[in-house]
């Protein structure tokens, strides 16, 4: 019975895939970026990392007033301290990352061919803790956001360079993230792309929808709504719930794959995290 069911699902899946050559991730990315260039011809490519502030000068000036002494300053300082504080066994986070963890955010997330899954920087922060006998941290805010903020800070100005290796599992992870991004969900029946591909620049009440291009460059982010720092997956959860859909757990396979697709779309832009947003 179980076998039958699996077969039925497999057939169903095959049936849903159109028999045309599938676009490669690279073609996807070029098309995705070209969409924003066409939509916002006056916004310089490099400015998309500033999100909605690239689109609206009024809101940009408020944001610049905040960036004059940004609220994530505290998190970067605390994150640096945490990053350099040895675990009980005497090792530090630096021992778990290439280049001692400095200036590496642009390579995340990446596909780990050993474990066959997408690795994000927050996932590896916790893997590092567990490997060294420490308890894992919560994935949405607090210490993990501070450590991640510090790691982004040391990577500022580096170019996002997410790679999709020649491995069917990597491509499957990418496709799963892409599917999440374009799938309608929730009571409002809206996809990520509805807001951030079709309608960036439009108002949702008092807020302007940000362009999808460049969204991952400035996480973790201090949102005035939260009054503290949050990780990208915390934001994903909020987005899902705002269209009245069930959210997934932070660092679930679903969100890691989404981050993989979402960040790959911004390849070539600069890391400017951590960020501040109203």
């Amino acid at each position: 019975m179980k076998q039958l069911l699996t077969m039925a699902v497999a057939v169903g899946l095959m049936g849903s895939v159109p028999i045309v050559a599938q676009a490669t991730p690279e073609q996807d990315m070029k098309e995705y970026q070209a969409h924003y260039h066409k939509r916002f011809p006056n916004v310089p490519h490099d400015d998309f990392i500033n999100g909605l502030y690239a689109l609206d000068p009024e809101k940009r000036s408020q944001w610049e007033a905040i960036e004059d002494f940004p609220p994530y300053t505290v998190a970067v300082e605390e994150g640096e301290k945490l990053f350099n504080t040895p675990f009980a066994n005497g090792k530090t986070y630096a021992s778990c990352f290439k280049n001692g963890g400095i200036g590496i955010k642009q390579d995340y997330p990446y596909f780990d061919t050993k474990t066959g899954q997408v690795k994000t920087i927050e996932l590896e922060i916790n893997e590092c803790r567990v490997k060294n006998g420490e308890k894992p941290l919560g994935y949405q805010k607090g210490d993990i956001a501070s450590i991640s903020a510090y790691m982004s800070w040391t990577s500022r100005g580096n170019t996002i360079n997410v790679k999709i290796p020649n491995d069917p599992r990597a491509l499957a992870a990418y496709e799963s993230g892409k599917e999440h991004y374009y799938a309608k969900r929730g009571q409002l029946n809206m996809s990520c792309a509805d807001c951030h591909v079709s309608y960036p620049g439009y108002y949702v009440r008092a807020n302007i929808l940000s362009p999808g291009l460049g969204q991952t460059s400035h996480f973790p982010t201090f949102r005035s709504k939260w009054q503290n720092m949050g990780t990208l997956h915390r934001r994903y959860g909020g987005c899902n719930r705002q269209v009245r859909a069930a959210s997934f757990d932070p660092q679930s396979e679903e969100y890691r794959n989404l981050e993989y697709f979402h960040t790959y779309m911004s390849n070539g832009l600069e890391i400017n995290g951590p960020g501040s947003r109203m």
Partner: protein
């Protein structure tokens, strides 16, 4: 440019020798400080009462030498950046009032030796309101106002 920003930031941070010691060691005691805080002005429910309690008068004269920099539409009413700048001479204080807040008096800055006519902060606004900057100089109250719209909702609010 970003790496330059990063350096400036780190240098700025390093320059701080944060002391963080509490009252006992310092010259301040809460009693001395609290005596100066104009409770009745901060608790007043109207601009006129607040000014009377704060400055002894609510007699304002509009002065174009006062510039208020604040957004036309606040992105988030909990964090509205505001700057007040003026070149009026002999300033004693710069006060900020938000007309429609339950208690309009938001802040009053008493300028000491060498202070320029410039203050900036971030404030909370419950709803759309005029923001009034009042500059006290040579015993007179000069003022300027600007409307800031506050809308609730969307993804951020």
């Amino acid at each position: 440019m970003n790496s330059l920003k990063r350096r400036t930031f780190l240098k700025g941070t390093a320059a701080i020798s944060s002391v963080g010691f509490a009252l006992g060691a310092g010259l301040l005691t809460p009693r001395m400080v609290l005596a100066a805080w104009p409770k009745s002005a901060f608790e007043s429910k109207s601009v006129d009462d607040a000014l009377t309690n704060l400055a002894g008068s609510a007699d304002l004269s509009t002065n174009e030498q006062i510039q208020i920099r604040a957004p036309d539409i606040a992105e988030n009413g909990n964090v509205v950046p505001i700057t007040v700048e003026t070149n009026i001479a002999n300033i004693e204080s710069i006060s900020i009032l938000t007309e429609k807040n339950a208690s309009p008096l938001t802040a009053s800055f008493v300028l000491g030796a060498g202070a320029e006519g410039f203050v900036a902060t971030r404030m909370k606004m419950g709803k759309t309101s005029d923001v009034i900057a009042v500059v006290k100089a040579d015993g007179k109250l000069h003022s300027s106002r600007k409307e800031v719209k506050v809308t609730i909702g969307g993804c951020g609010g």
